[in-house]
């Protein structure tokens, strides 16, 4: 159901097509079982004269897609057509700006910017001139001889931008370029970039921006592709109907942001009916799609529920509003909401989050009762927890290797996520005194209290 585009396909634009991606699939081979599919059936095209945003949660494979387009990573299946030809390896005319800036610490600003030109064999004099133009354009004049470590984060990203622009690429790829910067610096750089773009001062034809920040996407892009995770694919495509410069406080702007929030929270229930009603807890099979859990300490969850329950929200909130109230980004907020949903403490619906009666009861209870509620909720709602507990109850010494459960989780997620998911479950289970973990022996166990 997610694959159906929400809106009608956007009207064809006038620009020429730069990149077309046909049925791209990216899978990592796994030793134990099925391959881990990161991207599946991705189709998209980018035309000249537009800024396209790839919006999705971290881990949805959007950065992988960006690397495929850059030619840094060959897709497992499918094709990338760059200017009418099949792309093989890094192409001329595609430059990338990195989230981590990726500046060479031993090269000065000038040398960093010149690197791409040097690789092209541009003569020294011309190199200097081009680099100086790019440095000036991006507002770095005077910093030519500084080393990256002498610059602030915002300045460093400007160097990254100048380095990408100096080779006059057709397509500029930006991988979460502002997410390592503080709020003010990021906003400043965004505005500058949009201004240069609108005034057509940038020596590029098109930008592809990967981001997890909804407002950023709406602020900068002409077209937004919303990515879904597991496996990553384009779930929705939206045309942004505003002219530059855009105003965040504009009512239409806010409405558009709300709409995207709603689209991104509309998702399949995590726990199926069959699991909920299984009477015999000992013979539960883990469903094929065990959910990956983020690194979420239980006190963050409790804090969020208490904020939700308190004045003035009274158990229901608009997600963008809650995000700004808690000073959380999309990447932090969605996992939180989903974890609450998984535990049966909250519901996500059309960009809103509301506490369930069980969630309300949790918030209003004392510490011991809270433990009890979480105890039941975890056993009831998370199949993996049921399996763990059943195994531990069965063993005479009430101990079991954690590796085994990690392996099981790896059937439906990458090893890193499996590790993190079990880690999170252990954290919650310790709060609920459901089971404990011996880090040294890498074993889960029941102690006197949890027994």
């Amino acid at each position: 159901m997610m694959q159906q585009p929400d809106t009608a396909p956007p009207p064809p634009k006038s620009g020429t097509e730069l990149v077309r991606i046909i049925n791209c699939r990216q899978a990592y081979h796994k030793e134990s079982a099925t391959d881990l599919v990161v991207l599946d059936g991705v189709n998209l095209s980018i035309r000249s004269g537009e800024i396209v945003g790839l919006l999705g949660r971290s881990g949805s494979g959007k950065s992988t897609l960006l690397r495929i387009i850059a030619g840094l990573l060959p897709p497992t299946a499918g094709e990338v057509i760059w200017k009418g030809k099949k792309l093989e390896g890094p192409a001329d005319g595609i430059s990338m700006v990195f989230q981590s800036f990726a500046l060479f610490p031993w090269l000065t600003v000038q040398k960093n910017v010149e690197l791409g030109l040097e690789a092209k064999g541009v003569p020294m004099a011309e190199r200097h001139k081009l680099a100086e133009d790019a440095i000036g354009l991006i507002g770095l004049g005077g910093y030519e001889n500084a080393y990256p470590k002498e610059l602030s984060g915002g300045m460093r990203q400007r160097v990254g931008l100048a380095r990408a622009l100096v080779v006059h690429p057709d397509l500029l790829l930006m991988d979460e370029p502002f997410s390592a910067l503080d709020v003010l610096t990021a906003e400043n750089l965004r505005t500058d970039l949009v201004e240069l773009w609108a005034e057509k001062k940038l020596p590029i034809q098109s930008i592809l921006l990967v981001t997890h920040n909804i407002e950023e996407a709406v602020l900068m892009c002409d077209r937004i592709l919303i990515f879904s995770s597991n496996p990553g694919r384009v779930a929705y495509e939206l045309q942004v109907p505003f002219e530059h410069p855009r105003n965040r406080e504009d009512a239409a702007f806010r409405q558009f942001v709300d709409r995207i929030y709603a689209l991104m929270t509309r998702r399949a229930p995590v726990v199926s009916e069959a699991d909920m009603t299984d009477p015999d807890m000992k013979h539960v099979q883990i469903t094929a799609d065990a959910v990956a859990l983020p690194a979420l300490p239980i006190n963050t969850i409790v804090g969020m529920m208490e904020t939700l329950a308190a004045d003035p929200l009274h158990g229901r909130a608009d997600l963008p509003l809650l995000a700004s109230r808690l000073q959380l980004e999309l990447d932090d907020l969605f996992p939180l909401g989903e974890s609450l949903q998984l535990l049966g403490f909250a519901e996500l619906e059309d960009g809103d989050i509301m506490l369930t009666p069980e969630g309300m009861r949790f918030v209003q209870s004392e510490h011991d009762t809270r433990k009890n509620i979480l105890w039941h909720s975890m056993l009831h709602n998370i199949p993996m927890v049921r399996t763990i507990r059943a195994v531990l109850d069965e063993r005479p010494n009430h101990r079991a290797s954690a590796e085994r459960f990690r392996d099981e989780l790896e059937d439906s997620m990458s090893p890193d996520y499996a590790r993190q998911t079990l880690q999170t479950l252990i954290g919650w289970a310790r709060y609920a005194e459901l089971f404990d973990f011996d880090e040294e022996a890498d074993q889960l166990f029941l102690d006197d209290e949890t027994e």
Binding site: P90, M96, Q99, S100, A102, F104, P105, W106, G116, K149
Partner: protein, 572 residues
Amino acid sequence: MTDGSLPGNLRVRPNVPDLLGLLAIMAGAVIVATAGRHMLVPIPASEAGTIHLNPAWLPAYAVRTTLRMFAALAASLVFTFTYAVWAAKSRRAGQVLIPLLDILQSVPILGFLTFTVVFFLGLFPGRMMGAELAAIFTIFTSQAWNMAFAMYQALRTVPPDLEEAALCFGLTPWQRFWRLEVPFAIPSLVWNTMISMSGGWFMVVYSETITVGNTDIALPGIGSYVGVAIEQRNIWAIFYAIAAMLAVILAYDQLLFRPVVAWSARFQTDEGTTLAAPDPWVLTLLRRTHLLRQACLRLGGMMTRIGWLPLGPRPSAPRRPLVPSRLLDSAWIAALAVCAITIGWKTWAYASTHYTAGQMLHVTMLGGVTLARVMVTVIVASLIWVPLGIWLGLSPRRARRAQMAAQFMAAFPANLFFPLVVVVIVRWHLNSNIWLTPLMLLGTQWYILFNIVAGASSYPGDLLEAAKNFHVRGWLWWRRVMLPGITPYFITGALTASGGAWNAAIATEVASWGDTTLSANGLGAYIAHATVAGATDQVGLGMAIMAAFVLLLNRALWRPLSNYAARHYTFD
């Protein structure tokens, strides 16, 4: 122990891993006891007859060699926990102890033999004990300085907030030391101990055949076995010895090295720097045992209680110095000055009567020859290992294997391979001035590889991607992208390798096969010949000049280089 814990104690039933563990412990005890008894016997009259080339004797020799190694390790630990701690705790002592340690570290270890053998044989006249202690002391000198430095550095860099927290809880100096400072120092101490052990194997093999002047003693061990094999031109015996040593290093690596490194990882304060390796099987086995685990826990509990003993004054106790600190400082500096002048004067007096200027110039020239040799080998080894190390390091899978292989090879005493090279030189009549040279780096080149692999495998992936995205290839890629990034690692590796090469010079510039003796020109050969001749004056001069070379090289080349690299070539 109170009675309350007794029932829990009785519940522990031994299991199969327990049985294995107990058997291993008993076997170990028997071996140690037997070897210990041998140490006290008189020196046998016919020295040559004591070493048998029959491979059946090798296991016993290997055990003796290993025990010497661990005896030295114990001594080094004691030294580390006294000398380094004193240097770190007392500002005034540190002013003397640390420069002294720096000098001791630069003195060629093998040169010590001349002096220590005479000294220890004098302590236990006519007993093996004297020779054993001399050998153990040699190994000690190859380990102790490095470990003490690691400890000192760690003690000086304990995070101030932890120190403050300990003060707030009113911990006494003794408690602070065991609860905070030692745990903090453990990762670097363990790492440096491992490095020292690698050097130690080289020394133990060398020091077992002691020939100083007319004293000629062969301590039963793998080193003396090889020595006799060389004398009798028995190439098969050399191979047996190499095989035996491989077994020893493998056992040491598996039974001790890996478990201890895994254990030390828990004291790591900064997260993410350790390579998350799976637990070594020995540790897993130990955890499975019931009885032994309990015993270990008990032992650990007891040690912890010793650490909690409230020795020393509480931080809240008033401290009133008897003498003003300023006055004490002046007195201290005056005393130091007097000592320095006296020592300088005595040295000068000794040198002027025993050495001529021509002699000193000659030995310094020899030092220059050895310096050239060290530098050339380091450069040649770098040309080989840097590209290879980068290739290995850029793939995580290859990197892990290469790291393990390099660690293992670094621990293997390279001098066991020397005879094989010497045989080739003798057979083909090669120039020994050139062909003995590579031996210097045979054992220590692995540090170059090891560090390069570490550098390449920690090279930031996004920078590699950026280089690829901007089509940086070929020589430009090496110059702008890769080489600067691994420079700090390379300098660490080359520094360690060249330090080892200086030490090895004494063992490599002179080599023999049967009655053929090959000798290269150089300071190492000078010291080696003087040692055999029992010319103490010449050994002393050679050692002093070599130490001066090493110190100068460190100060004038390696330290500025590594400071420069730390400023320019690190990723934040």
